[in-house]
């Protein structure tokens, strides 16, 4: 066996989990009417089917004052039990265990959903939600403990194998533990012993409610990573005391707070396994099984962490959202078939943060496992000859899905390698991992039986010679021009030309950012890395305006500033003038309407967004029996939609 540690059983309390892979708690926004839903059953079930030994549900809210997100499950109502039973029965049939996570978010929420004041140890507003909470009275603390207990009973009656209490990055318990949010002078504040009093009450209440024969653990914040907050040293002490209480069976870990959410859900700019030192640090001090979560996205790394004794259980979240069957593939040694998560964050965190249901740029079936999950793909009734033009992510997905259904598929691309725009995007600074998207699908296309023809420019004549039944156009998009004077002048280029090394650039560059996303910031950093002086002008309020939801904003701006990149926001650029080496830019402030001029620059780089490549589609219209177009060639969007449409058309033709 390739991964003996990863696939060895582990005992968590009374439960023996078959392997060391835990699908970690995370919001899904899939609940309906604050009750468990069928979509959740299939969502969690798919990961159990895929081989994860343990599933931990998303946070279930234990008290009416905690409604930080609209689609949380209210676990304190006993109406949740029938839904829980369906979920736990479904998961158990795959020889997996499932725990429920209980949480009260404290001040990390607001009252706009619950219409109640939020409760917290001290009236300190959270940095994201910014609502001043009510300072909890001792009876409030007792009430929350009672609700934790009541909720835990519902969990047990719902058929779960264990319960985890959230003491991590977003939780009332952490707010009690941390000197950053607990300014109380009564028995619940001040000394560490006092700060631990309320969290211990929550644990004790749950332990009493579920009994000694039920697994109970906590998810602790290993380091708040903020001045004045908890650090690893203090957390080691806290964990040792929790262990000494004898009330808990395992120690799950998270990191950071809402001050630095980019550390909770590290994007691809964060190193793989960035939290391993913290898990190892906690594990040094306690004997309970310790979890480690954070960009451990492949079984090889997971095995190393386990073999090195740095953790006892590997928490995987995005890795299994992206490929629910990674554990099974790892067990069977099929590493080539694993679809690795690239931590782009657009589909998962990016959607959840905007209150949409969970998704994944690389896995269209997320949240739709019932319709699109493993085993739902049916062979095509009629075998068709399918011609797919464009080997980007959309084209590759269409080819893979159609091929698996038994169609005779040929995938064409004019380049010498598959990947499309991914191959350009991955050249941006720190975006190398984006290229894994192409790696993930390339093999699958040929494994699905599709033929790949590279270096072929598909023309209407070629289509007529081939006489396919179906043509799928996935010809993508190209950068669009800036519709202002001088945008076609000398020493003006677009981000693609920069990343592909097609142009000579001077030392002093101005990048006009109408994109707000990685296309602009990763290119600016790419230039700064080459030692160029870069100035960025945007009409948005700030540079990187679209990077917030994916948790890329903070570190992207930090790196740009550290590399000397300067920013001017609020400016609509109206004219680009001058010769190479003396380019000037004229524009006005969108709020004050005052005109100003910038320059001189050696080169101007435009990040304007994209326009469709639809020539082939337009010329084929009405001339082939079935014609589809997908992805950017319909309307330039992001890779998630290209994959989504490629997947759907491959399923439907």
């Amino acid at each position: 066996m390739m991964f003996p540690y990863l696939f060895s059983p582990v005992k968590l309390g009374t439960v023996e989990v078959k392997n060391r892979i835990s699908f970690q708690p995370h919001l899904t926004n899939l609940a309906v009417d604050n009750l468990p839903s069928e979509r959740q059953m299939y969502y969690w079930g798919e990961r159990a089917k895929g081989g994860a030994g343990l599933i931990i549900t998303e946070e279930l809210t234990v008290h009416p004052t905690d409604m930080a997100y609209e689609k949380l499950i209210d676990v304190y109502h006993k109406e949740v039990i029938p839904g829980f039973k369906k979920i736990t029965d479904y998961v158990h049939q795959f020889d997996a265990h499932i725990f429920a996570q209980l949480n009260h978010n404290g001040q990390q929420g607001d009252g706009s959903n619950s219409r109640l004041p939020v409760w917290a140890p001290s009236p300190i507003p959270d940095v994201l939600f910014r609502e001043t909470p009510k300072e909890m009275e001792p009876e409030d603390i007792e009430e929350v403990a009672r609700y934790f207990a009541k909720s835990a009973i519902h969990v047990r009656e719902g058929g779960f194998d264990g319960v985890e209490i959230q003491f991590g990055h977003s939780s009332l318990a952490r707010q009690f533990l941390s000197p950053l949010t607990n300014f109380r002078s009564d028995e619940f504040g001040g000394s560490l012993e006092n700060r631990m009093r309320a969290p211990l009450k929550f644990i004790a209440a749950v332990r009493k409610a579920v009994g000694n024969d039920f697994t109970l653990g906590i998810r602790m914040c290993a380091d708040e990573m903020i001045p004045g907050g908890l650090d690893l040293g203090q957390v080691q002490e806290i964990c040792a005391r929790f262990e000494a209480s004898g009330l808990i069976d395992f120690m799950d870990l998270s990191i950071a707070t809402f001050y630095n959410l980019y550390l909770v859900e590290g994007s691809m700019h964060t190193p793989l396994g960035y939290t391993i030192p913290l898990a190892a640090g906690v594990r040094e001090k306690i004997k309970l099984p310790v979890f480690c979560t954070g960009r451990i996205n492949d079984p090889v790394m997971a095995e190393k962490v386990l073999a090195a004794g740095q953790a006892d259980m590997i928490g995987m979240c995005r890795a299994l959202i992206c490929d629910p069957f990674m554990p099974k593939k790892a067990l069977e040694g099929r590493l080539d078939d694993i679809r690795y998560c690239v931590a782009d964050n657009q589909g998962c965190i990016g959607r959840i943060g905007l209150n949409k249901s969970i998704g994944c740029i690389q896995n269209p079936a997320v949240g739709r496992e019932k319709e699109w999950g493993e085993g739902t793909l049916e062979k095509a009734a009629v075998k068709k000859k399918v011609m797919i033009v464009g080997g980007g992510p959309g084209g590759m997905w269409a080819a893979k899905m159609a091929g698996r259904r038994g169609h005779k598929v040929t995938l064409y691309d004019r380049n010498e390698t598959l990947g499309g725009q991914v191959l350009t995007a991955m050249k941006g600074a720190g975006r190398d991992e984006f290229g894994v998207i192409a790696r993930n699908e390339k093999e699958q296309v040929s494994k699905a039986g599709a033929q790949v023809k590279l270096g072929v420019e598909v023309t209407p004549e070629l289509v007529q010679t081939e006489k396919p039944d179906v043509v799928i156009v996935a010809t993508g998009s190209r950068p669009k021009e800036h519709p202002v004077g001088g945008a076609d002048g000398p020493a003006v280029c677009n981000v693609w030309q920069v990343l592909n090394g097609e142009v000579e650039l001077g030392a002093n560059v101005c990048l006009i950012d109408y994109d707000g996303h990685q296309r602009a910031t990763a290119t600016a950093e790419f230039l700064a890395n080459q030692g160029k002086t870069v100035h960025m002008i945007t009409s948005s309020l700030f540079i990187g305006a679209e990077l917030g939801p994916t948790q890329d904003l903070y570190l992207s701006r930090q790196r740009l500033l550290q590399k000397g990149v300067t920013f001017t926001p609020d400016i609509a650029v109206m004219e680009i003038a001058g010769e190479a080496g003396a380019k000037t830019i004229k524009g006005f402030n969108v709020y004050s309407n005052q005109w100003a001029e910038w320059g001189p620059y050696d080169t101007v780089v435009l990040a304007m967004g994209q326009k469709v490549n639809d020539d082939l589609y337009m010329s084929l219209k009405g001339k082939v029996p079935e014609l589809y177009r997908i992805g950017d060639s319909v309307a330039p969007r992001k890779v998630d939609m290209a994959i989504w449409e490629g997947h759907r058309v491959g399923r439907e033709i």
Partner: protein
Amino acid sequence: MSYKDLHILVLLREVSDPRPPARVITRGAGISDRGLRRVPNPADLVALEEALVLKDRLGARVTVLAVGPARLDDTLRLAFSMGADRGIRFWDHGLEGGDAVADTRSLARILTILSPTLVFTGNRLADRGDDPVPALAAAAVDMPCIGAAISLTLNKNGVEGLRKGDRGSRQVVAAPFPCAVLFDEGATPRYPSVEAVTASLIASIEEWELADLGLPFWEAGATGAYLATAEYGAPRPDPVRVVTPDPQLPAFERIISLLSGGIKAREGRTLSVSAEDTVEGLWRILSEEGLVT
């Protein structure tokens, strides 16, 4: 007494090379076979050497016994090349899953059948430590047993063994023939000549099964064992030290240390050295592993 009828039985056991890490199998109790290097138990080879010294001096007959599957033939051939006269490999699938008591029954039967004057083997196994089976088997056939022996003197009716005692003390014990001796230290095993190694390759090894012992199957292996593995807990791996962020550092520096220093999973160590140094380094590793000489 004349020693011309002296018959020494040497029990040779295999152990896993303790140098590479062993992997525990996922289900059940045991060590995974994959990547495991097996070697003859060093103390057993010492016992064999002691027997061969007696053969050289007094003309004793030396029989070597190995209990286990066909791969143990290599150990027996090694014994032949060193000078053993007869080799027996005892194995039967019915022996699988046995405990010390079940294994003792078959060894005791072999002792009865062969009725040697002396039984030699190592005192401890290099990988697992104590093995009670030889002592138990000796007891089962009313044979005295000298444990932890470091040297042996033969006299008229028996042996005198010098053995290790508590806290470095030494003790001489006497026992009559027949007798079992478990060596802790002793003569360094000899190095066989090329001719002897070649000859050992065609030496015939007797293969014995349960039926040859006349032992009913229910007394051997798992069915004959008192102990059964009810549950097996994989060992908790000892942590490899990782540098954890220093709590004394300001938070922003801790973040930098995490984001810059984490484990770099997909990179190996790259060394740039000349071709000569590479060859020398590889040669050293291979000879340390005993793959070249």
